[in-house]
Amino acid sequence: MTEDVLTSGAVARPAATSHRPARGARAWIARSVPLLQAGPLALILCIFLLLPMFVLIVVSFFDYDSVQIIPAFEFTNYTDVLGSEVTWRTYLNTFRYTVIVWAVTTVLGFTVAYVLAFEIRSKTAQMVLFLICTVPFLTSNIIRMISWIPFLGREGLLNSTLLKLGLIHQPLEFLLFSDFAVVLAYTHLYSLFMVTPIFNTMMRIDRRLLEAALDNGAGWWRTVTSVIIPLSKSGIAIGSIFVVTMVMGDFITVRLMSGGQSASVGLMIANQIASLQYPAACANAVVLLAVVLMMIAAILRIVDIRKEL
């Protein structure tokens, strides 16, 4: 129908079509242009996200032995994953990392965002400082992890300083290759993901609200807890989604910073991949995906982030 209009319009008024297509044709173009513009994004995400996730789910039902993957439809991989005590302990450890890192990055990210948004008065200084905080995010994560070695190691800067000051008599062993190092590295890598969204929401808070709180006799702390925190909730939620998903799925930080002494779900999957147990790794991956999606659903239940988007 619309194409009829397009062609008849083109035949009837050939000179006009190039500048002013007929009404039906214009509507048709108006509808198809966004589809063409969004097409490449949809295509790439279908091929490199949707399809791979589908393959992941299919392979998770496959059978395997020491040399090959055998197409099948069985739940053995899932019963293996869910029935193993190692899985539960690994999940528990990963949750522990996630909760600690989330708490630390939320407090740190909120404080830094608050200082940037409300304590720095000059617009230029604000932008420059925000950029300074953003730049490390654009450099290599692995290098940023390695860079803790000379600081935290047995003979590292921290230990030798503490020894020299006489505060300790033995080098502290727990600094590097430990849970402490893992949490520190996570905080170092991911706090930016908290700072940026919280800073964004804070910049949109109407400053007159703060003056109103002050005029009504609220002190600084009361203003922060009763005005700024509630109004920054969506930023905190977005930052939390980033931090939670990144820590839940991470394997490289745990491997490098714990020195192979701690486990995480991501590391468990990576190890299964390394020993070519693909169906087991896939079943594990599907469980992880379900857990992560449930955690995000829980965050979205508590905080409505739609007004941010």
């Binding site: 790439i44 290599s140 994560n141 692995i142 800067l157």
Partner: protein, 268 residues
């Protein structure tokens, strides 16, 4: 009085945070100039460029030059694709279109699905299709699932603040949609487009997890660096860290300079 004290305490927190972000990187920058007998920690055992020289001998590190070249090419490919695809999709989302909701959900999902899952899935997909994974095919696609959502979210932020009056003025003067995009919209949003390019380039250049199972037989630079962390115990590791970090800083500075120049040109 209390307010002034609080102000400076809070500024101190920000200063400490910045020190926390940059301090460790600065230590490896200093330590990469260790003398030939120096180790992985302080004290400095002389000052030299020894470890930078070692970096370029192929036996010291796997294939540093080759992986650098691959990472640079891949980052450029990802940057160009991210800019074009997210710019186009950003324009699309300004209007209602069929499938806009599901596409948005898919884009957000792309951001929150753990990288290792994407890596594993893409690797298996290529395997099932009988294709060899390579850095320019499977790794390229896997990295785009990470850079495109960022690009699109930046476009959303841009168009939320965009004043449509400029476009309407162009249309009233008889500009075609393409002319109004090319001569009006694009120049206005160009600084943000450069931001997307910067994100696309650096996220790809440093990406590890999504490349791990999709790069095939040839390593990218982050894979090469990761391999070194388990086998290399000399400051050559720091030399490599210093070089890649400096390279990232140069890329960031150049993009910021371009944005500044554009702003200055507009002010004239």
């Amino acid at each position: 009085m209390a307010a002034t004290v609080r102000h400076y305490v809070l500024l101190g927190v920000l200063a400490l945070f910045i020190l926390f972000l940059y301090g460790p990187t600065l230590t490896i920058l200093v330590l990469s100039f260790q003398g030939p007998d120096g180790g992985l920690t302080f004290p400095m055992n002389g000052v030299s460029l020894h470890w930078f020289h070692r970096l370029f001998e192929t036996q010291a590190v796997g294939d540093f030059a080759g992986s650098l070249r691959r990472s640079f090419t891949l980052a450029t490919m990802v940057m160009a694709s991210t800019v074009v695809v997210s710019l186009a999709a950003g324009m699309a989302f300004r209007r209602k279109f069929w499938g806009a909701g599901p596409l948005f959900t898919l884009t957000v999902a792309s951001l929150i699905i753990p990288s290792i899952l994407v890596s594993l899935g893409v690797g298996l997909l290529f395997n099932e299709l009988g294709l060899d994974p390579d850095w320019y095919s499977s790794a390229f696609g896997a990295q785009l699932t990470w850079t495109l959502p960022f690009g699109l979210l930046i476009m959303f932020a841009v168009f939320n603040r965009f004043n449509k009056a400029w476009e309407e003025a162009a249309r009233d003067q008889g500009a075609t949609p393409w002319q109004s995009f090319w001569h009006v919209v694009l120049p206005i949003i160009l600084p943000s487009v450069i931001g997307i390019a910067l994100f696309g380039f650096t996220l790809s250049y440093d990406e590890f997890a999504r490349t791990l199972l999709t790069a095939g037989s040839d390593n990218t630079l982050p894979l090469e660096i990761f391999g070194m962390t388990t086998s290399v115990t000399t400051p050559v590791l720091y030399a490599l860290g210093t070089l890649t970090t400096l390279f990232s800083f140069v890329v960031i500075l150049v993009s910021l300079l371009i944005v500044r120049l554009l702003a200055a040109k507009r002010a004239l």
